[in-house]
Amino acid sequence: MSSRSRRSHSRLLPALAFALAAAPTLTAQSHPAPLLPASRIVTLRAQIPASIAKAKSALLDSRSTLGLGDGASFLAHNPFVNAQGRTVAHFHQLYEGHRVWGAEAIAYVEAGGDVETLTSGLEKQVSVQGNPKLTTSQAIQAALKDLEPKGPMTAQPKVELVAFPSHFTGGIATRFDPKKKAEVVDLGMSTWAKAPAEPYVWAYEVKTLLSNNKDGHREMSYIVDADTGAILRKWNALQGDTPASGTGQSYYRGSVNLSTAQAGDGTFALNALDKGTQPNPYVASQGGTQLGLTTYYAYADMNTGMLGFLPYAGHTTNAWGNGTVYPSPWDYVNGMPIFDYSSDGSQAWLQGSLTPAGETAAVDAHYGLSTTWDFYKNVFNRDGVDNLGTSTFGIVHDLQYSFWSGAAPLQDNAQWSPWYFGMEFGDGTYPDLPFGMIAVTEMDITGHELSHGVTEYSAGLIYDGFSGALNEGNSDFFGKMVQAYADGGATGTTIPEFPAGDLTKWEVGHKSVPSGALRYMYKPSLDGLSADGWYDGIQMLDVHFSSGVLNRCLFFLSQGASSDSSNLTYSPYLPGGMTGLGNDTAARIWYKTLTEHLTPDADFDAARAASIQSADELYGAGSPEETAVMNAWAAVNVGSAPGQPPRVRVSFPVINPPGSFLDTNAVPSGILAKVQIFPTRTTVQIHCDVTNTTNTKVDWSLATPTEGNQAGHINPDGTWTTPGWTFYEDLIPITATSEADPAQFAKGRVILVELDADTDNEIDAVDLGSVAMAWGIPTAPHGSVNITGASVSDWDFVFFDQAFENAFSVQ
C-alpha cells in the first residue's frame, strides 16, 4: 500500500485502465452522453441527497472486495450534477468514523440511476491499533511547540482525529533556493520524526492560523501522532506563487465595469453581491458579515499587533482607481515598510492604499476575481469556489511578516488561503528590483488563485509532488482561460480564442513581470527551470516548475503543436505536431477531469487516463478529441500517441524502496526513492537503466549547485570521484541522457556527506563509533560527528550507512 501511485510512473487508475486500453482499438466513435435540459438538471439537483445515499451504499457494498472491514465508511463532500445529468460525489474514506487522511473515492450516479465508483485513491486494509493516548489539547500543544508563534494566535487551532497512513509521514522537505536556482533540503520544513512502524496510526490534524505583526500570515498544518505526540507531517496550507515569482481604472485592463454595493448612506463598496450567496466563514468567525465577493486592503492593529483587513467602502463616487500603481512603499534606509495610520493611531496600512493609485490594485483584483467567478458560473455552471455559493474575498496591499520590522508588504506573490476562504495579493517590487513584479493582480493571476480554491473543493490535489504539479498547472491553465473569457467581453457560456499566434497570451504574468513572465505555458523551460515534459526525477522540482508538464500539455491540447523543430511550440516527443481543439473544448475536457476524475494523490499517468476518460464521455471513445488528448500527453512525454512505438526510457534505480527509512520519512513520500547518498572524497559508481533500445549508452552530466565548489565530472563508465566538500542542503543533480534518443533523459540527485567523524583522514566503519557515542546529546563536543548537520539522531546512522554502503558495497 505504501508504495502506491505517486512514485510509479506506469500506474494507471484501475477503474480507468479499461477506457485507456480499449479506446484506441475502437474503430467507430461511440456516442457521448447527451446534454440534458436545464429543467431535468434542476430535478436531479434536488435528488442529490438520494444519489449520495445510493453511491454510499454502493461503496459500502464493495468494502470486502476493497479489503476494507465493517468499520469502514464514507462521507460525501462537494457533490454536484454535471451537464449530462451525472451526479458526481467525492467521498472521504472513514475508519471507525474518522477520516483516513488523504484517501478519497469518487462516485458517479448517472441520470438513469446507474452507479459507478472510482476507488483507486482509497487506502486498503486499514487497521489502527489501540486508542489515541493524547487529548486534543495535548496535540495542539505539540503543534504549537513546532510552530513557535512569536505573536498571539489569531484563532483557536482546528483539530480533527484522523487515521493516518504512515506512508504519508513527512521528513526531509525540499525547497527552491532562488539564489542557487536549485532545489535544496529545507531544514525548516523537514520533520525529523521516524515513520510509525504500523501502516496506520491515530493522529490529529491540527490547523493553525497566525496573522499578526510578528508572524505575518501563516497557516501551518500538522499531523501529530496521537500516541507519541511526534510531528509526522507538516505543511504550509497557503498556496503561494513566489517561486517563479462601478467603473474602475485598472492597471492591467484599462477601464472596467465593477460589481459594487451601495450602502444605506449612498456610499459604495467593492462588494459584488451577485457573487456569493453564503457568508464568508472566516469573516463570520471574526464576528463580521460578508456576503458577496469583496475586495479588502490589509492593516495592522497597533494595539494588539494583529494583522487584519478593511473593506474598500464609504466611496462617494463609485469611480475607483486611476490606472497607475506603485511598488510596496519600502524605506530601504531603515529596512521598514512605510505606513499610514488611522486618526487615533490604532491602525496602520501600507502608505497609499486608500489613494486613487492605491485603489487601482483593488480595481484589478476586484475585476479579476469577479470575472473568474462569472467564468466558472457561466461556462461551467459552478457556483463559486466550492460550488455552494460561499463568498470569497481578495486582500490587496497585503501585509506579511518580516524579521526586521514585524509587518512587511507581501511582495512578488499572491496566494490562496484555505482558512480565509480568500486570497491575498502583493504589491510587487518592481521597479525597485528590476526582475520584480508590478502589482500581483493581473487577470491570469487572480484566476490562478481562485482556481486553487476550486481545486481544493473538487479534486483536492495534495500540494506537493506530482499532484502538486497538477494543482499548479491547473491554476495556470484556468487563469489563462479566465483571461480569454475577459478578453472576449466576459459574457456568454463559451471561452473564446486568443488572437491566433500570439504566444504572449500564454505567458503567466506577461504584463506584471516587465523582465519577462512568471511562466511560459507554450515552452515552460524558457524560464530556465521548468520542465517541458516528464522525465525520471521530475518530482524533485518545486510544483511551480514541474507544473510545466501540464501547462504545455494543455497548451498543446488547445493550440496544437508545431512540426517545425525551430518553432517554440515544437515537441521532440511528438515531432509530427498536432492540431489543437481550441480553448473551449480543451477547458471542458480538463474541467471535467479536475472535478470528476482526479483524486487527491493523482500523478501524471492518472491525469492522462482521467482526461482521456473525460474526452470519451464528452465526445466519444475514438473521437478526434480523444486522440488530441493522447497526442497532447505524448507531446509532454507522458504515455504514447496512438500508433507510436514504446519510447526509450532512462531511469535511475530505486535506492530507497517503499517501506525503507528514507522512503517513508520523506515529504512527499517517495521523493528520496532515487536520491543517492555518497561520502566525500571517494570513487563511487553511478548506475542508470535504459530500456526500449539496444543502444543503452548514456552521456553523463553533473551540475554544481554551490558556487565555487566544483563537483568534478562523471566518467563515461559511470565512475565518479566525489569532491572534498559537503553542504548538507545541496542536492547535486546528475543527468543521464540517452545516446539512442537524446530527448530522453533522467535526473538523479546526490547528497554528499562527510563520514570522517573521528577526523583521522580515513573514511571507515570505525567513524560510525564516534557518531554513535554522540547519539542523543544535544551539543556533541566533536562537530564532525554530525553527519546530517543537525544534532546526532537516527538520521545520522541512516545517512552514514547509506553513504558507506553505496560507496563500499560488497561485490
Binding site: A765, V766, D794
Partner: protein, 211 residues
C-alpha cells in the same frame, strides 16, 4: 583453436619450471595448480581481542567471531581487516558483511524494532573489510567483551583462482572500541570531549588457507 593450443603449450612449458622451484609435498606432483575446494582456519593463541572460527562455518565459508578479553566492558567495536585479493568477504542475512550476535544492545531503550541502528560494513579498495557495531543509547549498559560480539565471513570464490595450498594473509590494520565510560550528557563539554573518544585495540588473526 589456434589460440587455445598455444595456451596449452605455454602451460606445458611453465609447469616444469614451477616444479623445479618448488620444494613442495608429493601431492603437488599430480596437481600443482589444483583449484582450491575448501577453506581452513586456525584460531590465534591468546585471550585478548581475536578472531576465532565460529561453529557455523562450512568447508567453503569461514565465519569468524570477534571475541574480546573477559571482564572488559565496551559499547561497540569497529575494525578494518585487510585480506589478500583472492579472499572474498561474505555477507549475512542482513545484506551486510557483519552480523550482530546480540550482545550489544543496538536499539535504544524504547526498543522499536524498526529504529535505525549503528551497524555498518563494506569492503574498501585493496580488499579491506571495514565493519562496525555500536550501541547508540548511553542508557544501555556496556557489555562484557568475552563473548562473540559480532561475526564476519570469508568465502571460497571459484572466480578468484584460489589454489590448494594458498595461504591467505589476514591482518587487522585498525581497530577501536567505545569504552565503558564515555561521560554523561550532563557533563560539561570539556569533560565530554575528553571522555567521548574511542580506544585503540589490537585484534589477533589466525591462519587462513585453502585446500
Amino acid at each position: 583453436m589456434r589460440l587455445r593450443s598455444y595456451a596449452s603449450i605455454a602451460a606445458g612449458i611453465l609447469l616444469p619450471l614451477t616444479l623445479a622451484c618448488s620444494g613442495s609435498s608429493s601431492s603437488s606432483t599430480t596437481a600443482p595448480s589444483k583449484p582450491a575446494k575448501t577453506l581452513t582456519y586456525t584460531d590465534p593463541a591468546g585471550t585478548g581481542w581475536r578472531l576465532v572460527k565460529d561453529a557455523s562455518s562450512t568447508s567453503t565459508r569461514i565465519v569468524l567471531d570477534l571475541v574480546g578479553p573477559s571482564g572488559t566492558k565496551t559499547r561497540g567495536v569497529g575494525f578494518n581487516l585487510q585480506a589478500e585479493p583472492k579472499a572474498k568477504f561474505g555477507t549475512f542475512a542482513n545484506g551486510l558483511p557483519i552480523n550482530d550476535t546480540g550482545v550489544y544492545q543496538l536499539l535504544s531503550a524504547a526498543a522499536d524494532p524498526n529504529e535505525p541502528i549503528a551497524l555498518v560494513g563494506g569492503v574498501k579498495p585493496g580488499n579491506v573489510l571495514s565493519v562496525g557495531i555500536y550501541q547508540k543509547d548511553r542508557a544501555q549498559p556496556a557489555q562484557d567483551s568475552g563473548a562473540p560480539l559480532c561475526q564476519i565471513a570469508v568465502e571460497l570464490d571459484p572466480s578468484k583462482g584460489l589454489e590448494s595450498g594458498d595461504h591467505l594473509a589476514l591482518s587487522v590494520v585498525k581497530a577501536k572500541v567505545i569504552p565503558e565510560d564515555i561521560g554523561s550528557a550532563s557533563d560539561d563539554l570539556y569533560t565530554l570531549n575528553q571522555k567521548m573518544r574511542m580506544a585503540d585495540i589490537t585484534i589477533a588473526t589466525g591462519s587462513l588457507s585453502a585446500k
